[in-house]
Amino acid sequence: MKGFWPVYKRELLSLFVTPTAWVLIIVFLIIQGFHFYGMVVHFAQNAEVSVDQGPVQAFFGESILFYLPLILLCPGMTMRLFAEERRAGTIETLLTAPVQTAGIVLGKYAAAFTMYVVMWLPTVLYIVVLRRAGEIDWNVVGTSYTGVLFIGAGYLAIGTLMSAMTESQLTAIILSALVILGLFVIGIGEFIFDAGILHDFCAYVSVWGQMGELSKGIVDLRRIVLDVTLVALPLFITVRAVDAWRWG
C-alpha cells in the first residue's frame, strides 16, 4: 500500500498547522465539558440510581449532547481531505506520484481518525474525576470508548467519501452531515414502528441503541459487523471514485 505513510503524515501536519483541528477540538471539548458538568449535577441531585444507570452510562450516549457534536464535527474533520486537493489542483501531483489510490485514501482517512482520537483523549480525565468519587468499571469504560471509536470511524469514512465527491469543502461538510444525520434519524424509527421488520431494522442501525449497549458493557457482534461495514464500504467507494477521476 504505497503512499500511506507520507500522505498520513502530511495530512496530520496540515490538520494541526492550520486552525481546523484546533477549532474542532476546542468546540468539542467545550460541549463535552458542559455535557459532563450537567450530568454530574444531575447525579449529585439523584442519589438513588440503578446498577446500569451510572454516570459512565449517562455520559456515553444517553444524551443528544453526545451525538450532535459528532454529527457536525466529524464532517468538519474530513471535509478538506479530497475537496481541497481537487479545488487547489494538488490532486494532480498526488495522483501522478507512483502510489496506489488505496494508500492515499487510507492515509487521509487515518489522519482524520487520529485527530478524532486526539479529540476524545482529554475526556478520559472525566472518568479519572469520577474515579475519585466512586468505583469505575474499567471494562465498561473500555467498551464505551470502543463504541466511540467505531461510531467515529463510520462517520469519518462517510465524510471521506463525501469529500471525494465534490470540489467544495462546504458542499462536502453539508453532504456528509446530512448522510450521518439520516443514519442517526433512522435509529429513531425504533420508537416509531411497532414490532416488525422495520422496528428491528431501525433498532439494529440505531447508534443510540449501540452506545446504550456498549456503555453497559454489552458487545454485540451484529453491531460490530454493521460498524465495520460503515467504515469499509464508504472507503471502498472512495478508492473507486478517486480512480474514476482518471477516466473522467
Binding site: 473500555g142 460490530i224 482518471r246
Partner: protein, 396 residues
Amino acid sequence: MLAFAFEPVPPPSALPLVAVAVAVAGAVAVAVAVALVGAVEIGAVPPAVLASPGPFDGVHADAASSADNSGPVIRCFVLQGETKAMITVEGLYKSYSGSSFAVRDVSFRVKKGEIVGFLGPNGAGKTTTLRVVAGFLGATAGRVTLAGHDIETAPTEARAAVGYMPESVPLYPEMRVVEYMAFRAELKGVLRKKRRDAVDVAMRRARVHGVADKLIGHLSKGYRQRVGLADALVAEPPILVLDEPTSGLDPNQIREVRALVRDLAKEHAVLVSTHILPEVEATCDRALVISKGVLVAEGTIEELRKLSRSRGIRIAVSGTGDVARVLAVNPDVEQVTRVGKSSHLVTWHPEIVDAERAAEEVARTLISSGFGLRELSPVKASLEQVFAELTGETAA
C-alpha cells in the same frame, strides 16, 4: 462532595479489554483488506470506452489537408524504433464526454537527451495529452509507454519514471518548501537514507534552497514555479514532463528556467508544452504541433519552418516596369507584393521543389528584362506564421 451510589463491581479483569482491542484491530484489518482488494480490481478494469468504435479519422494528416488543399505539407510521422525511446505514445485518444475527443490519434516518441516542445494554441489538447502521459488521466484508447513500462498494465512503475510539473503548479500553501520536498520525495519512494540528499540536490538545481524554510503560501509565483520543478526532479526520473514551465514568469526567470531545462535534457527525456513560440526556438530540438486535438506537424524547428507556404524572397530592383508581370511567367512564383518604393516580396508556390534554383531563375529573369537587381534575400518564415498556418488561425 459528590457521592455516587455505585454497586460493587467485580475486580477489573484485562481479558474483555483485550478482546475489544482484538476486535478493533480485526475490524481495521478487514477495512484495509477491502480497500486493497478494491484497488487491485481497479487496476484490471479497462476503460469502458476503450472498445467503442468511434468515428475516428485514421490519419491525422487527412484532417488538416482535406480542409484546405493549399495547406501545409504534412511531414509523415515515422517511428524511430532504433534508438530507445523514453516516451512512446501510440494512437492516443482521450474523450471526456464520450462523444467528442479532446485528443485524437496522437502518436510520438521522445528519446533520452532530447527536448521536445509540445506546441499548440490554448485548448488544443496539450494539457490533456501531458496529463495522460504523466498518468493523471487514463487514455480512452491508445498506448503510452514510459521508460518501457506500459501505463495501463504497470501504472506505478510508469509513473515512477516521470517527473511531472502540472500547468498551474499546485502546491500546499501551509507547508514549508523543505517539508513539501521531503513529502514528495517519500511519496515517490526515495529511500529514507537518500531522501535528505535528494531533496537538497533538487532544491539546489531548481534554485529554491534559499527559501527552503519559507511557507509555500508566502512564495512568489516564480519561486512556486521552481518548487514545482524541484518536485519534478527530486526522484531523479529519466523522463520530465513540464506543462508550460515558464508561464507567469518574468523575462529573467524565463531565461533561467530555459537554461535549466536545456541543462536537464542532457540526462533526461524532456517533453515541454508551450504556446509561446520563441520558447520552442530557444529550448527545443524538436517540436510537435497540435491543433484541435490532432497532431498536425512534427519535426525540427527548421523542418517546421519549411512547412510554411509564405516562404519567398525579398528583392529590391531599380528601373521602371511591372515586376509582377515579368515574374508571372515563372511557375514557382505564386505572388509578388510591393512592400516599398523599390522592394517586392516574392512568394513561392506551395509546391515549389527547389527554392534556391527558383531564386536564381528570378534574378536571371529580372536582369534580362532590364531591371537592376540591388538586393535579393531569402525570407524565412517566422515560426509564428508556420504555427498560425498549421493550427488554422490567421497570423497576427
